[in-house]
Subunit: 158 residues, 2 copies
């Protein structure tokens, strides 16, 4: 029996509508989805949502409960969410504009947060990207050495 | 008289060719370009290049000389460079697939490193993205509050 994956989802005001649609899509696919907001299109600050969600991803030291297998963050361009989430130790957040990026981000970068750009991504495309992201596996080998270089940097910096 | 901007540029093996072309393009436009490698298509690790370049960006605490106004990093998907560069305190690295992303990344996110995805970006498109990135200005205001939230997170985490 496959273990049900826990997915955290979050957005700012510009990503709110796409976040709602992806949330429903994931729930109908049987994932456990935890919603970190926002809950309306009222103006909101993307870093707050990114930092809060990121701290629940299993790869993060001193991870908070509920623990999440993966996260999905949505803002207008995806750039703000990507910058913010990657500041968190243990997070590898990937801005994916199409399924090929999602495949690479899992296979090569072992990404644990998918970032979507609501202003440049239809719901149909976002579904394809999300499905690929959640099904592809990390390839390891030479890619693991690079991930380790990133972890080493995170551990040695003050 | 306009001050000449110093730009650092770097790539892994998959970004090498596009990096070379962008370097020449920037030099003909009168920018001072400092090349952080790599210098061939021999397999290389993107985090090493990202961390080395990033530590020369003026916004970084204890910045190394030569000090750079902006950086440009190139890998296959842009994701590895984006993850790595954003681990560095003071860096806001933006993966830009078209000029609109570049505009947003400067206006809203005050990005100081442009990341290009060599496998998904023609030289012609990369030139357009780079020109917009280097000409647009940060809008400040509500966007500054969000940048400050990111800086605060960087400063308080261990």
């Amino acid at each position: 029996m496959l273990k049900i994956k826990s997915i955290g989802i979050g957005a700012d005001h510009r990503g709110f509508k796409l976040k709602e649609k992806i949330k429903t899509f994931l729930e109908t696919r049987g994932y456990k989805v935890i919603d970190f907001g926002v809950f309306s299109e009222e103006r909101a600050d993307y870093p707050k949502v990114a930092f809060e969600l990121a701290q629940h991803i299993k790869a993060v030291p001193k991870v908070k409960t509920p623990k999440l297998d993966f996260g999905i963050l949505v803002c207008g361009s995806g750039i703000g969410m990507s910058i913010s989430a990657n500041k968190v130790k243990g997070i590898r957040a990937a801005l994916c504009l199409n399924p090929e990026f999602a495949k690479r981000s899992r296979q090569h970068n072992n990404a644990n947060i998918l970032v979507l750009a609501a202003d440049f991504t239809t719901f149909s495309k976002a579904k394809d990207i999300t499905e690929v992201f959640l099904s592809e596996k990390f390839l390891g080998e030479r890619h693991r050495a690079r991930i380790n270089q990133i972890s080493n940097y995170e551990n040695k910096k003050k």
